[in-house]
Amino acid sequence: MDGGHTIHRVFFYQDAVLVANRFQSPPQDEFDILKAWQMLARSHDLDLCLCIASCLRRGIVNSAEATRFEHRGDSLASGFTISGLGQLIEASLVADRTITFGA
């Protein structure tokens, strides 16, 4: 982004959705990846989008999904939205570059 690029979307898939678990409390001397994403998103107005199927498998729910599955309360951290795989494909089609991490 410092080089003048814009980021259309950040899509979290598979285990990456666990980044958005608002109940994580890492020890103070360890890197807080959730807070880091939230700060980056806030300062650059990023769209942080999660795959709903990956989320439901791993217990990441917003209030709507919590109600649907009769869970007590949500687990999704603020700054993230839950959507579908179509968002990953749309972003890949719109952007001139797609960068994948973790595989």
């Binding site: 898939y13 598979q14 285990d15 199927a53 990956s54 498998r57 579908g84 795989l85 179509g86 990953l88 494909i89 749309e90 890949s92 089609l93 952007a95 570059r97 797609t98 994948t100 595989a103």
Partner: protein
């Protein structure tokens, strides 16, 4: 139409990642022209499971591979080196991917508009 190349490198079995990677491929096929290449341990996804005694138990999601033509997924490739390394043969695998050597593999990369690695 844009060309998306899906790289499947996750081995099937104890985790759900290989199955989720296939879901991504199917989603891609709804919006774009897709091709898929199995590389590394990902070639093991092609194997027809002899037993399903995995723990935790997983769906034999690769049964869905035979439906790829119905999703307009016709360009199915497999890294020839990985195929040989894992000792696979066409009798024990689910679909018949085109085996590609490394120079042809790099061409696939170059011809795609976007590459999605799993």
């Amino acid at each position: 139409m844009k060309q998306l190349l899906f790289i499947q490198s996750q081995r099937p079995g104890s985790t759900i990642t290989a199955q989720e990677s296939f879901d991504a491929l199917l989603a891609g096929s709804a919006f774009a022209e897709v091709s898929v290449v199995f590389v590394g341990e990902g070639v093991l996804q092609l194997v027809i499971p002899q037993t399903l005694h995995e723990m935790p138990p997983r769906k034999a999601f690769n049964a869905g591979f035979s439906a790829m033509p119905d999703f307009d997924i016709h360009k199915v490739y497999c890294c020839a080196a990985s195929f040989r390394e894992k000792g696979l043969d066409h009798q024990t695998i689910r679909v018949r991917p085109e085996l590609v050597e490394s120079d042809a593999l790099s061409k696939l990369w170059l011809n795609a508009d976007s590459v999605l690695c799993f």
